[in-house]
Symmetry: C2
Subunit: 109 residues, 2 copies
Protein backbone atom coordinates (compact mmCIF):
# COMPACT_ATOMS: atom_id res chain seq x y z
CA UNK A 1 0.00 0.00 0.00
CA UNK A 2 1.21 3.51 -0.80
CA UNK A 3 0.08 6.59 1.08
CA UNK A 4 -0.15 10.07 -0.39
CA UNK A 5 -0.43 13.51 1.19
CA UNK A 6 -0.97 16.43 -1.15
CA UNK A 7 -1.43 20.18 -0.79
CA UNK A 8 -3.27 22.69 -2.96
CA UNK A 9 -4.60 26.23 -2.60
CA UNK A 10 -8.24 27.18 -3.05
CA UNK A 11 -9.85 30.52 -3.97
CA UNK A 12 -11.72 31.39 -0.79
CA UNK A 13 -14.65 32.81 -2.80
CA UNK A 14 -15.13 29.31 -4.30
CA UNK A 15 -15.19 27.31 -1.07
CA UNK A 16 -18.98 26.91 -0.87
CA UNK A 17 -19.21 25.64 -4.44
CA UNK A 18 -16.22 23.35 -3.88
CA UNK A 19 -17.89 21.89 -0.78
CA UNK A 20 -21.13 21.31 -2.68
CA UNK A 21 -19.35 19.51 -5.51
CA UNK A 22 -17.56 17.25 -3.05
CA UNK A 23 -20.59 16.51 -0.90
CA UNK A 24 -21.78 14.44 -3.86
CA UNK A 25 -19.16 13.91 -6.56
CA UNK A 26 -20.22 12.73 -10.02
CA UNK A 27 -20.80 8.95 -10.16
CA UNK A 28 -18.30 8.62 -13.02
CA UNK A 29 -15.58 10.19 -10.89
CA UNK A 30 -16.41 8.09 -7.82
CA UNK A 31 -16.29 4.93 -9.94
CA UNK A 32 -13.02 5.88 -11.64
CA UNK A 33 -11.36 6.53 -8.27
CA UNK A 34 -12.59 3.18 -6.95
CA UNK A 35 -11.47 1.31 -10.09
CA UNK A 36 -7.99 2.86 -9.83
CA UNK A 37 -7.29 1.17 -6.49
CA UNK A 38 -7.42 4.41 -4.50
CA UNK A 39 -9.04 3.96 -1.08
CA UNK A 40 -9.64 6.00 2.07
CA UNK A 41 -9.48 9.29 0.19
CA UNK A 42 -10.16 12.44 2.22
CA UNK A 43 -9.83 16.13 1.42
CA UNK A 44 -9.52 18.59 4.30
CA UNK A 45 -9.85 22.37 4.22
CA UNK A 46 -8.57 25.17 6.38
CA UNK A 47 -8.52 28.80 5.25
CA UNK A 48 -7.31 28.78 1.64
CA UNK A 49 -5.52 25.43 1.93
CA UNK A 50 -6.67 21.99 0.84
CA UNK A 51 -5.01 18.82 2.01
CA UNK A 52 -5.63 15.49 0.29
CA UNK A 53 -4.90 12.08 1.81
CA UNK A 54 -5.37 8.79 -0.01
CA UNK A 55 -4.04 5.28 -0.22
CA UNK A 56 -3.26 3.20 -3.29
CA UNK A 57 -4.14 -0.45 -2.60
CA UNK A 58 -3.60 -1.87 -6.10
CA UNK A 59 -0.60 -3.90 -7.30
CA UNK A 60 2.57 -1.85 -7.21
CA UNK A 61 3.52 -2.60 -10.80
CA UNK A 62 0.14 -1.37 -12.04
CA UNK A 63 0.28 2.00 -10.34
CA UNK A 64 1.38 4.07 -13.36
CA UNK A 65 -1.09 2.39 -15.72
CA UNK A 66 -3.96 2.78 -13.29
CA UNK A 67 -3.25 6.46 -12.67
CA UNK A 68 -3.18 6.92 -16.44
CA UNK A 69 -6.53 5.16 -16.78
CA UNK A 70 -7.91 7.34 -13.97
CA UNK A 71 -6.75 10.52 -15.71
CA UNK A 72 -8.48 9.42 -18.90
CA UNK A 73 -11.69 8.15 -17.29
CA UNK A 74 -15.06 9.40 -18.61
CA UNK A 75 -15.79 13.00 -17.53
CA UNK A 76 -12.50 13.25 -15.59
CA UNK A 77 -11.16 16.12 -17.74
CA UNK A 78 -14.51 17.89 -17.35
CA UNK A 79 -14.41 17.40 -13.54
CA UNK A 80 -10.85 18.70 -13.36
CA UNK A 81 -11.75 21.76 -15.44
CA UNK A 82 -14.46 22.64 -12.92
CA UNK A 83 -12.16 22.00 -9.94
CA UNK A 84 -9.06 23.68 -11.32
CA UNK A 85 -10.93 26.94 -11.90
CA UNK A 86 -11.42 27.05 -8.09
CA UNK A 87 -7.91 26.00 -7.09
CA UNK A 88 -4.51 27.67 -6.84
CA UNK A 89 -1.64 25.26 -7.49
CA UNK A 90 1.84 25.88 -6.09
CA UNK A 91 4.00 27.42 -8.87
CA UNK A 92 6.86 25.23 -7.55
CA UNK A 93 4.93 21.97 -8.04
CA UNK A 94 6.26 19.09 -10.16
CA UNK A 95 5.69 19.85 -13.86
CA UNK A 96 2.63 17.97 -15.15
CA UNK A 97 1.05 17.74 -11.69
CA UNK A 98 -1.65 19.92 -10.11
CA UNK A 99 -1.67 18.94 -6.45
CA UNK A 100 1.74 19.11 -4.74
CA UNK A 101 3.00 15.89 -3.22
CA UNK A 102 4.12 16.23 0.38
CA UNK A 103 6.83 14.23 2.10
CA UNK A 104 5.74 11.62 4.66
CA UNK A 105 7.86 12.36 7.74
CA UNK A 106 6.00 10.10 10.17
CA UNK A 107 3.77 7.08 10.10
CA UNK A 108 2.38 4.76 12.75
CA UNK A 109 -0.10 2.03 11.83
Amino acid sequence: MRRFGQALGIRTECIDVYRQHHAKIWPEIERAIRDSGIRNYSIFLRGDQLFGYYEYHGPDDEFDTRMDTLANAPRMREWWDVMEAMQIPDPARTPGSWWSDMEEVFHQD
Copy 2:
Protein backbone atom coordinates in the same frame (compact mmCIF):
# COMPACT_ATOMS: atom_id res chain seq x y z
CA MET B 1 -14.25 5.63 13.31
CA ARG B 2 -13.38 9.33 13.33
CA ARG B 3 -10.90 10.88 10.90
CA PHE B 4 -8.80 13.94 11.65
CA GLY B 5 -6.85 16.28 9.39
CA GLN B 6 -4.70 18.90 11.10
CA ALA B 7 -2.37 21.68 10.00
CA LEU B 8 0.66 23.22 11.72
CA GLY B 9 3.63 25.36 10.70
CA ILE B 10 7.25 24.31 11.18
CA ARG B 11 10.42 26.41 11.47
CA THR B 12 12.28 25.48 8.30
CA GLU B 13 15.62 25.51 10.15
CA CYS B 14 14.28 22.70 12.38
CA ILE B 15 13.08 20.36 9.64
CA ASP B 16 16.07 17.99 9.75
CA VAL B 17 15.80 17.57 13.51
CA TYR B 18 12.02 17.15 13.26
CA ARG B 19 12.48 14.41 10.64
CA GLN B 20 15.03 12.61 12.81
CA HIS B 21 12.74 12.65 15.85
CA HIS B 22 9.89 11.23 13.80
CA ALA B 23 11.93 8.57 12.04
CA LYS B 24 12.03 6.88 15.43
CA ILE B 25 9.69 8.37 18.02
CA TRP B 26 10.18 7.57 21.71
CA PRO B 27 8.69 4.18 22.66
CA GLU B 28 6.57 5.81 25.38
CA ILE B 29 4.96 8.10 22.79
CA GLU B 30 4.37 5.30 20.29
CA ARG B 31 2.73 3.19 23.00
CA ALA B 32 0.57 6.05 24.27
CA ILE B 33 -0.71 6.75 20.74
CA ARG B 34 -1.52 3.07 20.21
CA ASP B 35 -3.25 2.77 23.61
CA SER B 36 -5.38 5.82 22.82
CA GLY B 37 -7.06 4.10 19.85
CA ILE B 38 -5.36 6.30 17.25
CA ARG B 39 -4.46 4.37 14.09
CA ASN B 40 -3.05 5.08 10.63
CA TYR B 41 -1.33 8.26 11.79
CA SER B 42 0.77 10.08 9.20
CA ILE B 43 2.48 13.46 9.20
CA PHE B 44 3.34 15.05 5.86
CA LEU B 45 5.63 18.01 5.18
CA ARG B 46 5.89 20.55 2.40
CA GLY B 47 7.83 23.78 2.76
CA ASP B 48 7.02 25.15 6.21
CA GLN B 49 3.73 23.29 6.51
CA LEU B 50 2.94 20.08 8.36
CA PHE B 51 -0.22 18.09 7.78
CA GLY B 52 -1.33 15.37 10.17
CA TYR B 53 -3.84 12.65 9.35
CA TYR B 54 -5.08 10.06 11.84
CA GLU B 55 -8.06 7.90 12.69
CA TYR B 56 -9.62 7.22 16.07
CA HIS B 57 -10.84 3.64 16.21
CA GLY B 58 -11.81 3.45 19.87
CA PRO B 59 -15.33 3.61 21.31
CA ASP B 60 -16.96 6.97 20.60
CA ASP B 61 -17.96 7.59 24.22
CA GLU B 62 -14.36 7.06 25.38
CA PHE B 63 -12.82 9.59 22.99
CA ASP B 64 -12.48 12.49 25.44
CA THR B 65 -11.14 10.29 28.24
CA ARG B 66 -8.64 8.59 25.97
CA MET B 67 -7.36 11.88 24.55
CA ASP B 68 -6.94 13.07 28.12
CA THR B 69 -5.00 9.94 29.04
CA LEU B 70 -2.86 10.42 25.93
CA ALA B 71 -2.07 14.01 26.87
CA ASN B 72 -0.97 12.85 30.33
CA ALA B 73 0.98 9.78 29.22
CA PRO B 74 4.58 9.31 30.46
CA ARG B 75 7.02 11.67 28.68
CA MET B 76 4.24 13.22 26.53
CA ARG B 77 4.74 16.71 27.98
CA GLU B 78 8.51 16.32 27.43
CA TRP B 79 7.92 15.19 23.80
CA TRP B 80 5.59 18.09 23.15
CA ASP B 81 8.09 20.57 24.60
CA VAL B 82 10.71 19.35 22.12
CA MET B 83 8.23 19.41 19.20
CA GLU B 84 6.58 22.71 20.03
CA ALA B 85 9.91 24.54 20.01
CA MET B 86 10.16 23.59 16.30
CA GLN B 87 6.58 24.37 15.34
CA ILE B 88 4.57 27.49 14.55
CA PRO B 89 0.89 27.15 15.51
CA ASP B 90 -1.81 29.22 13.81
CA PRO B 91 -2.67 32.20 16.07
CA ALA B 92 -6.33 31.62 15.06
CA ARG B 93 -6.39 28.01 16.34
CA THR B 94 -8.91 26.78 18.91
CA PRO B 95 -7.80 27.88 22.41
CA GLY B 96 -6.11 24.98 24.23
CA SER B 97 -5.10 23.24 21.02
CA TRP B 98 -1.76 23.27 19.17
CA TRP B 99 -2.48 21.70 15.79
CA SER B 100 -5.38 23.29 13.89
CA ASP B 101 -8.25 20.97 13.00
CA MET B 102 -9.21 21.10 9.33
CA GLU B 103 -12.69 20.53 7.92
CA GLU B 104 -13.30 17.28 6.04
CA VAL B 105 -14.89 18.37 2.75
CA PHE B 106 -14.65 15.02 0.96
CA HIS B 107 -14.34 11.35 1.78
CA GLN B 108 -14.54 8.17 -0.26
CA ASP B 109 -13.80 4.81 1.36
